[in-house]
Subunit: 162 residues, 2 copies
């Protein structure tokens, strides 16, 4: 062997990602390029596994890869106070908060309807449609908060230019 370090497959296994995904992350600059062995194989340090786990978590919390890249970049730069990340976080928190509330309301209604169905009292598809229809609207107004995470999408963020 030459120059110890994890192979991409090992890293993949440890993180639950695929090798192509890891290469993809490198290609978009999310992960910095790994040092190569004499024959061109990527050799990873254990810290990369940590970094990838971080990425996975941030992603599952609704951050886009681009946002994660920014956070990572700033975080690598050191322990400096960082108004940008602060700002990003605040807006993200706001979006998360709103999303939780909308989902919770929906959950309650849906659960209630399902309970009715379980009791065999008039189970109909229209019931579900009614619930969905009665979910509160929340677009058009308060357009200031742009979603930062399509995965938390609530209400469309299109603005219909015209």
């Amino acid at each position: 062997m030459d120059m110890a370090g994890l192979l991409i497959g090992d890293v993949a296994e440890r993180t639950g990602l695929t090798a192509p995904t890891i290469r993809y992350y490198e290609s978009i600059g999310l992960l910095k390029a790994a040092p190569r062995s004499a024959t061109g194989y990527r050799r990873y340090a254990d810290t990369t596994v940590e970094e990838l786990r971080f990425i996975k978590k941030a992603q599952s919390l609704g951050f886009s890869l681009e946002e994660i890249g920014e956070i990572l970049k700033l975080s690598r730069a050191g322990d400096t106070p960082c108004s940008h990340v602060l700002d990003l976080s605040r807006r993200h928190l706001q979006a998360v908060q709103e999303r939780i509330q909308q989902l919770a309301r929906f959950r309650d209604q849906l659960a209630a309807e399902l309970a009715k169905w379980d009791g065999k009292k008039e189970p109909t598809c229209r019931g579900l449609c009614q619930i969905i229809s009665s979910a509160e609207e929340r677009e058009a107004d308060a357009p200031s908060l742009d979603l930062h995470a399509r995965d938390l999408r609530a209400g469309s963020r299109r603005k219909a230019r015209r």
Copy 2:
């Protein structure tokens, strides 16, 4: 005018969608083809506006267009009990529930960290990273629940075949 009914632009305005989006919905069979005027213009009934609003809401609650299509199809078929939608709803409820819990935990931690920053006590980017890193893992296990709504994505749903 010939044969009253809303023009696509009117419908767009009333729903906050764009005309192309409405045509797109028709093209994928989500919306049934509107009757045409003698000159080929789509003429919509008011009920279409309702249907589109329903679609928007269902979408904001995390249903994919495909799922919405199924629901709509069954709902149009009448007030019959419908185990499929029931099933869809149950799994969706489950996913929503989990997602809410994860987001809520994240919200609390993020809020706490932001509060610290507001108090000007050592505001650092690393703090945020720590929070994200400490967000609980939730993948690999419990793979039974496939997400039904990429927008509620929590943890990746790739299974790494190999």
